[in-house]
Symmetry: C2
Subunit: 372 residues, 2 copies
């Protein structure tokens, strides 16, 4: 190690650290893409899984990252490594509050990534966990979240293989943020992508919609129900396995998290350039969820789930897949809600209970911030 | 979808959302492990890569997660999937400021995970990127960080395969937090683990120590140098490839990030139950770094790096490995700094410039918060 030399080669230029922190580098070389000009600053909707999120990916991340994978809009990427086809996915979790009826940020972080992998047909094998802790959060809360992570991982049959912990000063975080990433093998013959949705496909959901989002929001908004609404947070690997046992040729699986069923169907319709038609009355929404949505001013079709999936299934396999789903505990409430059509490509149309139709738009931003 | 039914099954129990957020569940079943009793709340040191971080992993995360991999203390886990041996690693990044001389949070996030994989001998193949953005951060800043991520990924030959973006309200984050996770193939015959350090191994560093940490801290503390100190942030995959070309039988590679060389050597000594002896004057520390450390009250042996590595090399290969390192641009300053010994197992001892010795302890917490 060099001996200490004289100190004349450095100068203290400011007393206050804050004053000395330089501005971000000059961005004069960066031209804001036109679709983003209305948003010189990030708004909560950029994290909402709707049109604003898609804009950020399309106009900022995809051009910067340059890879072909990111543009595929799937929940997870399918990559080839050492001759194996792997699904690879990541999610960060900033849900507030950290605990809610039916779950908490820990099991959400496991199930969220396990489910993203399952939507590629992969059984999750290994997870990474990154903690960003805020100084001052109770160690017992961290321990409880860690226990929930471990319990959920064991329940899903996935191993937490590696991790990382960072701590930010009080006031620069929000208790606990988590990130999980996961890898799993994609079985031979399975090719699940939004682009594969095809006219004639039957659209099936695995059960009640909107439950997770309403469970979190009702806690946050101080609503109490005679029958408590509990998050449907669950790992869908087993259900997907049962569906793929019927046929590996399912076209699309999607877990309708942020942005709910509405965003998921719009993404699929846009990616495959097909139309989607659903019957609103066939979408299972429990009365308590519908009622809570009415009070909160939410549309249940856009509320986040985290233990449900929507499937685009070739018509000849639809009955058998539906039966296999209903035979699984996490698919007991499975229902056909519509079909994929050649008309109005890129558009999702819902037949309403009153006999009319409405266009189910892609949500712009976020009706439910911090839901996962 | 169910028709709206009557609203009598829910009750608004509070006007203020804050008042209604329940406390975390009852933790009465959780007994705080003795080593953590001094810290009922998280302190910044729990993210510092030192003894407090290790305590959290050992007493909270490892028991909760239950897997064998997490306890191995390696920078990345080596897992088997589809017959392939994969390295899998994650890191979150909360560095402040977001840009500093020589780099920024974007290239740091790529190189940090690429380097963790390289320390298992793996060439990084695919990365995931998770953004946690704070509402109000300039979109142009996000774009610049994304560009840096993309540029660094291309430079390192790794593809960004999948990503996620969350947004938290203003005041609940700190501009941009990032998480990256990565996977890569471990070549046949390569088995790099801290546990493999063996008496007789030669300890080699790839170049100057302490540069990244001082570059970030001097910006934050408002120090200015006649010769600017720039972060050494770089991807080490190519350097490691050159070293493994000499022999696949290297014992340990480690990138001394948080906690610096001192923490890295202590972790290795503890994991392999061996002693480590280094000569302080043989550790390359540039005079500007030494001077800045004197002003900031830091020990350069504990300052973070992000473009350097320390290697434990069997003695018979040491000369050839050193030569291969020096022939690589990122190892031009490589130097032998010490050796692995049977004496004082678990302990790192430094011979000082004055002819004495000192124990190089594991750092407790964090001399440099928010450095990566």
């Amino acid at each position: 190690m060099a001996e200490l030399t004289d100190l004349t080669d450095l100068t203290v230029i400011a007393d206050s650290p804050a004053a000395a922190v330089p501005a971000a580098p000059d961005f004069s070389g960066w031209t804001c893409p036109a679709p983003l000009r209305d948003h010189p600053r990030i708004v909560t909707g950029h994290g909402g899984g709707g049109a604003l999120s898609a804009e950020l990916v399309e106009h900022v991340f995809a051009p910067a990252f340059g890879g072909p994978l990111l543009a595929s809009l799937a929940d997870s990427a399918v990559v080839t490594l050492g001759g194996a086809r792997l699904a690879f996915s990541t999610d960060s979790f900033v849900v507030r509050p950290l605990f809610f009826p039916g779950g908490g940020i820990g099991d959400l972080a496991v199930n969220g990534t396990v489910n993203d992998l399952a939507m590629s047909g992969a059984k999750a094998a290994y997870l990474s966990v990154g903690f960003i802790l805020e100084e001052g959060v109770e160690t017992s809360v961290v321990a409880r979240v860690a226990q929930a992570l471990g319990d959920a991982a064991r329940a899903a049959g996935v191993e937490i293989a590696t991790g990382d912990t960072k701590v930010v000063e009080a006031g620069h975080g929000d208790g606990i943020y988590l990130n999980t990433a996961g890898i799993g093998l994609v079985p031979a013959g399975v090719d699940l992508r939004p682009q594969r949705a095809a006219p004639g496909d039957v659209v099936i959901v695995s059960g009640d919609m909107g439950v997770h989002g309403v469970a979190v929001m009702s806690v946050r908004e101080g609503l109490e129900f005679d029958v408590e609404i509990r998050s449907d947070c669950a790992a869908l690997g087993g259900l997907v396995e049962a569906m793929l046992a019927v046929t590996p040729d399912l076209h699309v699986l999607r877990d309708p998290t942020r942005g709910g069923l509405g965003a998921a169907l719009n993404e699929i319709a846009a990616a495959a350039r097909v139309g989607v038609e659903i019957a609103e009355r066939d979408v299972p929404v429990p009365p308590q969820v519908a009622n809570a949505c009415a009070i909160l001013g939410l549309d249940p079709l856009y509320v986040a789930n985290e233990g449900k999936l929507v499937a685009f299934v070739p018509r000849e396999h639809a009955d058998a897949v539906l039966a296999a789903m209903r035979a699984h505990p996490l698919g007991a409430g499975a229902a056909v809600i519509g079909e994929c059509v050649t008309a109005h490509p890129g558009m999702v149309v819902a037949r309403t209970g009153l006999g009319g139709t409405r266009v189910l738009d892609m949500p712009i931003g976020e009706q439910l911030p911090r839901i996962c």
